[in-house]
Symmetry: C2
Subunit: 430 residues, 2 copies
């Protein structure tokens, strides 16, 4: 058993508890209470005095194997970025070994900055799963499906078969949660989308898809299908509880109404949407319609980091600014987006809050730090002031993976060496 004693517990579903403790048994939270734990039956003790104890952050959209492409092509129009940089590099480099190490690099960055779960859309899913298991992060891994061939599959039929196989292999896994990810309505035929939906329903797993990211996508859908991307999904019965619609920047009021009615979920990726010049999702309206909006970073080729504290802060600030209203998306709401709503968006309600019986996915943050002096309110510190480097301990599924700010499960020096080797090859290929 692990005992976390002292500090301010932020359960998310209930008010903060000052000076309490959390007892972890196996993969779960056994007990949370005020005061001091009196038993002696724990093996590991974490002194959390002057720390915040909160659920690990949930990043609901990444392309984690792209981490080695961090910052190779900034400040470019989407078309040039994709066609002249990303796609040629992917064609050249995306192979199992690259996927494993590039994922491991991104996963390490996520863990040390307080993210305990992420939802990924990419290929070579087995390599990503291996990196998750080795590093000890919770991975919602949704193999990508496209109508054109990639280095991982030749046809959408292949891709779907691979995804189904992956789901079967991992559906009972403690930290790997498989799903399926048709890339978008403009890269997947209706037939492909429907087959992916069948798999999603059959295994009750998420249907992870980019939706209405750019104005161009929205307008081309109108031209091609006569309706918006959201209505196209809806008309074809593809908008449902397990649909995780990523980006969703270009939504009209009817789209928002449909998403709300069908209880589809949203992954809001503000940094990527800003950086690529895609626009700003109407998150205020979505939340007002009771839509579950979670937060994602997107891949580092369009962000360029995986820091969820930064993503939360930008979410909180941005929607106040564009709505000219400082009360929009308050700290408590944004904290929920990155924890509780993340869990709901990923259809796995055993995480995202600190409650007895839930999985022990917990982060512990030092608040006696120059960025949070003086310390008044935990939600305010989490959303508006702290630096992700103040995360000192990270526990995933009951296992301590970050201790005193250092990752315990990954050989960092080896990873740096491999990253440098790939960097040289990538630099020569640009």
């Amino acid at each position: 058993m692990i005992l976390i004693q002292g500090g301010t517990i932020v359960p998310v579903v209930s008010p903060p508890v000052e000076e309490g403790y959390i007892l972890i048994e196996g993969s779960k939270i056994k007990k949370i209470d005020r005061g001091k734990y009196q038993g002696k039956d724990y093996k590991t003790f974490i002194d959390a005095k002057n720390h915040i104890i909160m659920p690990g952050l949930i990043n609901t959209h990444t392309h984690i194997p792209m981490t080695f492409f961090r910052g190779i092509a900034d400040d470019l129009p989407l078309e040039i970025w994709l066609k002249e940089y990303i796609w040629p590099l992917e064609a050249k480099f995306i192979k199992p070994d690259f996927v494993y190490y590039s994922s491991l690099c991104g996963i390490t960055e996520m863990l040390v900055s307080g993210t305990t779960s992420f939802c990924d859309m990419y290929f070579f899913e087995n390599e990503i799963a291996r990196a998750c298991e080795d590093a000890g992060i919770r991975g919602f891994i949704t193999p990508g499906v496209l109508d054109f061939p990639t280095s991982s599959f030749k046809t959408p039929r292949d891709a779907i078969a691979k995804a189904e196989n992956f789901i079967k292999n991992y559906m009972k896994h403690p930290i790997i949660h498989p799903g399926i990810a048709p890339h978008s309505t403009y890269t997947c035929s209706l037939d492909t989308l429907k087959k992916c939906k069948e798999i999603s329903e059959k295994y009750n797993t998420i249907f992870h898809i980019h939706v209405s990211e750019t104005k161009k996508e929205y307008e081309e859908s109108l031209k091609k299908h006569g309706v918006s991307p959201v209505k196209y999904l809806h008309n074809n019965n593809l908008l449902y509880e397990n649909t995780l619609a990523v980006h969703s920047v270009w939504l009209d009021d009817e789209d928002i109404e449909l998403i709300s009615q069908k209880k589809a979920k949203i992954s809001h990726n503000p940094e990527s949407n800003l950086k690529l010049g895609s626009g700003i999702s109407p998150v205020k309206k979505l939340l007002e319609q009771k839509v579950r909006v979670s937060i994602g970073t997107d891949g580092v080729a369009s962000n360029n980091n995986l820091d969820m504290f930064e993503a939360m802060r930008i979410t909180a600030l941005l929607h106040k600014g564009i709505n000219l209203d400082p009360s929009v998306l308050n700290a408590r709401e944004v904290l929920k987006m990155a924890t509780l709503y993340g869990a709901e968006c990923l259809n796995f309600r055993e995480i995202g809050t600190l409650e007895e019986g839930k999985r022990a996915d917990i982060i512990i943050i030092d608040i006696e730090d120059i960025s949070t002096i003086p310390f008044y309110d935990p939600c305010s510190a989490i959303i508006y002031s702290l630096n992700s480097r103040q995360v000192k301990y990270v526990i995933v599924n009951g296992k301590l993976v970050v201790e005193k700010g250092e990752i315990k499960t990954v050989d960092i020096e080896k990873l740096k060496k491999i990253a440098k080797e790939y960097r040289e090859r990538i630099k020569n290929a640009i």
Copy 2:
């Protein structure tokens, strides 16, 4: 002499130099070159292998004595925030001892996160100057002037006399650069504004003023003066080279034209403008008109931290997003805003770039870190991916003030203790 050897030098005015060195003599940069320094005449050696060496960041708008109010009142409308929280707390707490320690706390946060200069608007300027000298940061300190009484002065005449006295005392100081700060056009009479301008011209120092922060301010200026705040300043000969107009969110095209013509300067504070729901400054247009736009954090009561890397990132992302164009405000431009343009905005051109003969205000950043692996391009890393905690060495005016990430000039434990005492008193007063 200090020798910084190895690493990637980012001079800002010229392309990065890989594997070079910088020699510092006294307060200035004596030599910058490629390769290895062959002399032995240095006293301090900094191994900058796998580091970026760049000019210290310049934060052009703060209210540093408010640091102890960090996060006391978030997510509130401006009026309630000011009238129910900030002003009553200021009336109760703003005294010399508070100003010194609260400033020292903010200055420490700035130094460890790579800011070497800041421009402050507040009262008890001698205490702020003392905190700057003790911590070793470059302070552009501009005493605030208002038409109503504060705990520091009774009348605007008093305030202006104090400011002039402060300017006289510090105008030859190596790291304290005095100026004057009429608060705004709605809190200072025309007479007050004109007297401040006289002082600014007499001593060739900056005229630091909040301008057109909110829609309300813009509309009330139209109602009261028949023109926008910018045109009101212009019509009264108050818009000139030394004018540092802070926020400048609500600008029409004529305002931008006037600012450009008169070579007035702008401090853009994106986080504060978003958080308070003020709006978004038309920075793209300002830069297109060759206006010098620098970056500020504002005080921590409306941000809530002083991290200029975060402020740069949000600046770079925000304007791409609202202009739907990923090529707007590229990494190199934003880096200039926080360095070279900052120096120009503060009318002190001896900082902001790395060049022989300039002041040695330098920061050294570890890039062998999980947030910047792999590392391709220094500007991309600086603007889009790195964490401010990667700053390892900070030199201001030739003096090493941060070493291995730790502040050398401030007794942190004592500061924490004092911050906690004030926190208890402030909590009881809210």
